[in-house]
Symmetry: C2
Subunit: 333 residues, 2 copies
DNA sequence: TTGTAGGCGTTATCAG
DNA sequence: CTGATAACGCCTACAA
């Protein structure tokens, strides 16, 4: 019963007789032996760990992404190292360095906050991608070497805008929290729709501070400043909830006087009253796909560097109805 | 410039001349050298990593806990290994084993789902606590060896119940998702209040399925079954939001006909209309305290095994007012 | 099928 | 202050 034999048992080698295997396992059990992970890592050059980066895991959407990623990785016997970077570029770089210095097997960047406008600022991502597989969720890196899985947000927003306009809105506005990759993508969908309806896009989109009451206040200010709007397309459900609060506070009827759409089909969309029409961007699909692709990459297989899928429109009470045949839909949470 | 010197530079030893230190750093820079974390771990017997266990990181409350813990640990240069165990005992044990087998420096169990009724089922926690410091957030282990930081939920719920009754409710009910440690604690506060007002507690508390529409449906069923209630104390804001939906669907006026309180002061409490009266259990305080204590334990210092703090009542629109002097309060998110 | 021995990349303990 | 050198605990040819 040498050290080597123990190692073989540990690694499930088939070159061990059933008898000794059992004996080894017994002894391990009795002595409460746990192999040293570091030494193991040294030898195998991996600890089966992937680093997950996100700006803020307390965001209701990202929280769900994190959860699903972790569960999926665990199924493949990978552990997850979570890093909440915040929104500062420098912090993101620091965290990424940390992860790399810990020899993670791969990186998953959750959320579109990781793509900077200035491509130079993405250099560290390119560098990282040379060392380990890097997966971007809802973000695309130009030259790449990294993999990305993205939802076709532009299309979804375009369709939503088309629908709002079709339902009678003549002055829709677009509200987003920041012009991140996803913010810009969604905005492009909004603009495409406006263009298709020969509506001007100038002065129709706004950056809005975070928070539900803040958003409501922001819209009240907008109205006070003389901006006309009869519908609001928000880039997430929280903003949309704020828009709903705005309408309620001004005595506007939803959806008769004012229509609202959110994004993500989160709990907030059904917590709000009236319940919010939103886009379900299928987080579950996003996460299982990403992890599945990642596993393939780690096995050395070739996978497409970019996969895109589309969102589903969930019609609820903040938009008008053309017909009444629809069934109620559950939030994705 | 031997290997030993490099090591010393890496570990910031003071026994290196400034000249050679600089030279080493230069060479490291040029060759893009990154020390091997596993070998490092082998030598130091730590990788400065703590394992965070939670049942479901997509829960709006736990998500915030996770976020705050990670940030706080990172400030102390510890990385976080996240494990979402779900609610099955077996999975919890598996995850805990995984973490232990990876030689984490400590464990943090976030949420009260980790304390089982049958103390035998907590054996694995006691075992774990013998190997590394174990911190329980919102949960207490009887004999211990583990540390716990808990909010005095019983008191908070008692006060809320007292207040509802004082404001005219004669038939309050208590709604919770499960009889976890925290569920039971809150329930005890509820019962204490009822007893204080000579109200019977029999048939006044209920286990309610998850989900906002489900909760609303549950209350409608309850009413249909002939249960009388004019106020609902929910153990979290999601349940409370469901209760609000119930009242709206039945045309009850809030708070005149029906009062509601939530718990956690989460985004849901202000997303709902009307906004929900809730208890702020100060997650931030919880997390910073826990990590700070953990750091002390890791430094070998003695810290109390149990620290308790109290929640703040946040009065909003789902409960009646005695006086009107209060100021609006922001959610803790 | 099993045991032996070298190597993995650091840290830490000694001498110099 | 610096340089050998023995751990650290496991993995993996290679030998038996």
């Amino acid at each position: 019963m040498s050290i080597a034999t123990v190692s073989r048992v540990l690694n499930g080698s088939d070159k061990v007789s059933e008898a000794t295997r059992k004996k080894v396992l017994d002894v391990m059990e009795q002595n409460g032996y746990t192999p040293n992970a570091f030494a193991r890592g040294l030898g195998l050059n991996t600890m089966r760990t992937v680093g997950i980066l996100c700006a803020d895991s307390s965001d209701i959407y990202l929280a769900r992404v994190i959860y699903l990623l972790e569960r999926e990785l665990w199924k493949n016997s990978y552990a997850s190292m979570l890093c909440c970077t915040g929104y500062q570029l420098e912090e993101k770089e620091n965290y990424l360095q940390l992860l790399l210095s810990r020899n993670v097997d791969a990186l998953i960047l959750a959320g579109s906050q990781f793509i900077e406008d200035n491509d130079e600022d993405n250099a560290y991502l390119y560098e990282a991608a040379k060392k380990v597989p890097v997966f971007l969720l809802n973000g695309v890196l130009a030259g790449s070497g990294a993999y990305s899985v993205v939802c076709d947000d532009a299309l979804a927003v375009k369709e939503m805008t088309d629908e709002l306009i079709g339902l009678g809105s003549s002055h829709p506005i677009f509200l987003c929290r920041s012009l991140s990759y996803s913010g810009k993508t969604k905005l492009s969908g909004f603009c495409r729709s406006l263009a298709g309806h020969s509506l001007p896009k100038e002065g129709r989109f706004f950056l809005c501070p975070a928070g539900i009451p803040e958003t409501a206040g922001f819209l009240r200010d907008l109205e006070a400043q003389g901006v006309t709007f009869d519908a609001c397309l928000a880039t997430d459900d929280e903003l949309a909830a704020g828009a709903v609060k705005y309408a309620l506070s001004k005595g506007k009827r939803i959806p008769e006087d004012f229509q609202v759409t959110g994004y993500n089909n989160s709990l907030l969309s059904v917590c709000s009253t009236p319940e919010i029409t939103t886009a379900d961007n299928r987080v579950e699909f996003l996460c299982t796909t990403a992890v599945s692709l990642l596993m393939q990459v780690l096995e050395g297989r070739d996978v497409p560097e970019r996969t895109m899928y589309s969102a589903n429109l969930i019609r609820r009470a903040t938009t008008r109805r053309r017909d009444e045949g629809d069934l109620p839909v559950e939030p994705s949470k």
